[in-house]
């Protein structure tokens, strides 16, 4: 269990792997699993101009 860096809501690791992107269940901000063991999250990187598919 850790906290959302935006809204401080509790966030749990559920079948997630390092680098995975998910939305905070409370405030909806996009988060990234920065470490799986120990579980830590950071705000996901912002989309840049040359990003795409």
């Amino acid at each position: 269990m850790t906290q959302c860096p935006e809204c401080e809501a509790s966030v749990q690791l559920k079948d997630m792997i390092e680098g995975e992107i998910f939305s905070c269940p409370d405030c909806g901000v996009e988060l990234e699993v920065s470490s799986a063991q120990p579980f830590a999250v950071a705000v996901a990187p912002k989309e840049k101009e040359d990003w795409g598919e």
């Binding site: 792997i17 390092e18 680098g19 995975e20 992107i21 990234e32 699993v33 996901a44 990187p45 840049k48 101009e49 040359d50 990003w51 795409g52 598919e53």
Partner: protein, 283 residues
């Protein structure tokens, strides 16, 4: 179990697509070396990299290009290849290649200054579409309905500092149904297709467009495969529109998302990508 091959996954973020690719690799006994594009360093002489082949899933065009060139320099096969990403990541180069290969594509004029962009728009006629040469997900595209609007949009683009916005890619506005078509091609073979439907003129699913099944269509499949091969082949998503004169290809995507495609068609795209990567590694 390890089948002896180590797959390098070069990525920016882990979306469902990358997670499915990792699962498909694990199911095939592949070892995976995760190469985060914001962490890897590239010496001129390779040291310490374990990968036998690299699958590029970075969403950054710039990072992808330099990294792929380094991987090739290290003697590693890559999916997709540097040349393919270079072509597909730049709408101008893609249009040129499609035209050279005789693939129907919307009428396009490129201009290198704001003044020339206005002339390009006059040549194409209104309404027209103005797109940044590099970029995706329908970002910063503009439908231009008349000259007054053109002058305003070009003035705004000119004010942006990025050199990318001082090159103007002008394309005819194709009157089409409220949908376009996304076709997944892997290793020269058709894999799956969906309509991307939206009431807005941009149908990208990244912009909220919805997917819908496409019935088998030999003409569509053949054209998509031909377009994918024209840019060099690999794992590619070809975007087409139904113009009044028939199908036209407007984009070929080199690092395609496939969440919607998988949900609508049920095709395990990640498994097919990993199988193709294994095939390339064996060559």
């Amino acid at each position: 179990m390890n089948n002896g091959t180590t797959l390098g996954l070069f990525y920016t973020i882990i979306r469902p697509e990358e997670k499915w690719i990792l699962e498909a690799a694990a199911a095939r006994g592949l070892a995976v070396e995760r190469l985060a594009d914001d962490e890897v360093t590239f010496p001129l002489v390779q040291n310490g990299m374990k990968s036998d082949i690299v699958l590029n899933r970075s969403v950054s065009h710039t990072r992808s290009l330099y990294a792929l060139r380094f991987f090739e320099h290290y003697g590693l096969p890559t999916v997709n290849r540097y040349e393919v990403v270079n072509l597909c990541g730049d709408k101008i180069l893609t249009s040129l290649r499609l035209q050279e290969a005789g693939i129907p594509t919307p009428r396009t004029v490129v201009a290198l200054t704001p003044e020339a962009a206005l002339r390009a728009l006059d040549e194409v006629g209104y309404p027209a579409v103005l797109k940044p040469p590099i970029g995706s997900w329908g970002r910063l595209m503009a439908k231009v309905d008349d000259r007054e609007e053109a002058e305003q949009i070009i003035e705004h683009k000119d004010a942006l500092a990025s050199p990318m916005h001082s090159v103007f890619y002008v394309q005819e506005y194709v009157p089409k149904p409220d949908r376009d078509i996304r076709v997944q091609v892997i290793g020269g073979a058709f894999v799956a297709a969906i309509y991307r439907r939206s009431s807005a003129w941009r149908t990208n699913t990244a912009r909220g467009g919805e997917g819908e099944r496409v019935e088998p269509n030999a003409e569509l499949e053949e054209l998509a495969v031909k377009a994918a091969e024209a840019v060099g082949g690999g794992v590619l998503a070809v975007d087409l529109m139904e113009s009044p004169n028939g199908l036209v290809v407007h984009e070929v995507n080199h690092t395609p998302e496939f969440k919607t495609l998988r949900a609508v068609t049920g095709v395990d795209i990640a498994a097919k990508i990993v199988d193709y990567v294994c095939e390339v590694a064996r060559r």
